[in-house]
């Protein structure tokens, strides 16, 4: 399913016959097969309970598949020991619908926090954080606190925090879910520009208009199965 533009693309994410059944017998994902290449922008759509959350949890190794194998960066995720999970997670970061910013830290400190906890040096932090803040258009807001920001600005802070350590994959879980349509588009612009710099983006969403306009790859889940996987897709065929 690789795009043929003359370049050899690296398989960044690959699911082989992945099934996830929870302890209570709920079959969240059934026999998922897919490949996502480096640099792709992928929408993950589907109704609540279709398996989007489980899909993301498997990617982050918060959950292990019941059957099947997941490869990320050509590494079998199942082979990663518990001790190695933190290092594995540095390559995949997440943006949530509810931003999850620390209220008692400024914008700068919130972004710097992600670097501090992986023990980056103050020098690197001073260089990297302003750069990322200007990328998401928040240079002016660096010393403000989350409660002084609008929803869109908060989400941009959370995106800045997610990409400050240069992950190869950015997962956005309903990133526009709490935002009005105009602000949502701001966020999409930011995500697109991050994608242009080479970061693979996987965005789970319900926002039909965004998916339809963006014209990116769409993977649709229904009752735990992939029902559609199209390049330049739309949210749904009918309605």
């Amino acid at each position: 399913m690789s795009k043929c533009n003359g370049q050899e693309l690296i398989k960044l994410i690959e699911f082989q016959n992945v099934t996830k059944i929870y302890d209570k017998g709920v079959q969240a994902l059934t026999n998922i097969n897919l490949k996502i290449d480096k640099g792709e922008f992928v929408f993950l759509v589907g109704a609540s309970g279709a398996g989007k959350s489980t899909f993301i949890k498997l990617l982050l190794k918060e959950q292990d598949p019941t059957n099947g194998t997941i490869y990320i960066n050509n590494q079998n995720v199942g082979d990663i020991s518990r001790r190695k999970i933190p290092h594995f997670r540095r390559g995949i970061s997440v943006v949530f619908q509810d931003f999850r910013l620390l209220p008692n830290k400024t914008v700068f400190e919130n972004v710097a926090f992600a670097m501090e906890v992986i023990e980056a040096s103050p020098k690197e932090i001073r260089r990297q954080v302003p750069m990322i803040l200007s990328m998401v258009g928040l240079s002016e807001r660096a010393s403000q606190y989350p409660h002084e920001l609008s929803g869109g600005e908060r989400q941009r802070v959370s995106i800045a925090r997610a990409i400050v350590n240069n992950p190869s994959i950015l997962i956005a879980d309903e990133p526009t879910g709490n935002l009005d349509p105009e602000t949502a588009w701001e966020i999409m612009k930011v995500l697109k520009s991050i994608n242009r710099r080479g970061t693979t983006i996987l965005m789970a969403t319900h926002a039909k208009d965004i998916v339809d306009v963006m014209q990116q790859r769409v993977i649709a889940l229904e009752k735990g199965r992939i029902v559609r996987d199209e390049q330049r897709g739309a949210y749904g065929h009918e309605s």
Binding site: L60, R83, P86, H87, F88, R89, R90, S93, V94, R100, L102, F113, A114, E116, V117, I118, E119, S121, P122, R161, A162, N165
Partner: protein, 300 residues
């Protein structure tokens, strides 16, 4: 794992913030640690001193006193002396007559000695004082002595020493039980304090997990917080115990029984032991309390 200075500073600061954030529970934790260690301190000073005194006695009183029955002839007394002399393990022996014993007794009473003048009959028995080669062989020698006829009673300091050691052992056992209970209480309270900090930092921890902080990076601040609580309690207990022991020592040496002071451990020698024991235990209890809490409430 080599920790960067910067990282350590960050974690230490988080620990202090945690303590300050739950001041009430922190105070409760510190108090329980201090109280437990103070009780431990009393037990340690008692046991160490009793052991010391018993050891000193062992070296200085290697004698066995053999009291003879009344109404023995001089010849019989001499024969007993010869028989005693042949027992293995005896270095030498000397005879102490009733009169000598009474004289000694009077001297022991000092100025009140004249009271004994009114005695119609000397109640003290004749005896042999036996010096042993080795206090350890006292039991064997005493066993042999009981086979000799004409002996009324055998008194030896090993009894006293054994009793002292038995008391020390008893105090130690009761002490351990008490300490165990107190340490468990301290650990319980510390783990609850840490739980509060964990709740306050839930969001931070969650973010740390998602951006790939290592498990130990997440855990250390809580462990440091617990250890700090234990350490502060330990320092507090050290000050109190040191003061108390110094006072007790002064009281005993000046007012009660001067000789005893030569057997007692000097406060200046006691202090370093107390510090080491308290700091290690305080930090240990604190760290364990945190770990219990982390295991229960922090899935990293």
């Amino acid at each position: 794992m080599v920790m960067k200075v910067r990282t350590f500073k960050y974690m230490f600061k988080q620990g202090l913030v945690g303590i300050w954030r739950n001041r009430g529970m922190s105070l409760a934790s510190i108090t329980t640690v201090a109280a437990s260690l103070m009780i431990l301190g009393v037990i340690i000073t008692l046991v160490l001193n009793i052991n010391g005194i018993a050891f000193m006695l062992q070296n200085q009183f290697d004698t066995v006193q053999v009291y003879l029955v009344e109404e023995l002839s001089d010849e019989e007394i001499t024969n007993i002396g010869i028989e005693l002399g042949s027992i293995e393990g005896i270095k030498d022996l000397e005879f102490e007559s009733k009169e000598q014993a009474l004289q000694k007794f009077k001297e022991g009473w000092g100025e009140q000695g004249y009271l004994l003048e009114s005695l119609e009959k000397n109640p003290l028995p004749n005896s042999y004082v036996i010096h042993l080669n080795n206090i350890e062989s006292a039991d064997a020698v005493v066993n042999e002595l009981t086979n000799v006829s004409g002996i009324d009673e055998v008194k030896y300091y090993k009894d006293v020493i054994d009793n002292l050691l038995r008391i020390a052992k008893f105090i130690r056992s009761v002490g351990w039980a008490l300490i165990l209970v107190l340490v468990l209480i301290a650990m319980f309270i510390i783990s609850n304090t840490i739980k509060l900090t964990l709740n306050a930092r839930k969001q931070e921890v969650n973010i740390m997990k998602y951006v790939g902080a290592t498990n130990w990076f997440i855990r250390w601040p809580f462990i440091i917080e617990g250890m700090l609580l234990g350490l502060i309690g330990a320092l507090f207990a050290t000050v109190v115990i040191n003061f108390a022991y110094q006072s007790a020592f002064d009281l005993i040496t000046t007012r009660v029984y001067v000789i005893l002071s030569t057997y007692m451990i000097l406060p200046t020698q006691m202090l370093p032991r107390i510090i080491i024991i308290f700091v290690v235990l305080g930090c240990g209890v604190g760290a364990l309390g945190s770990i219990v809490s982390l295991r229960k409430h922090l899935r990293v």
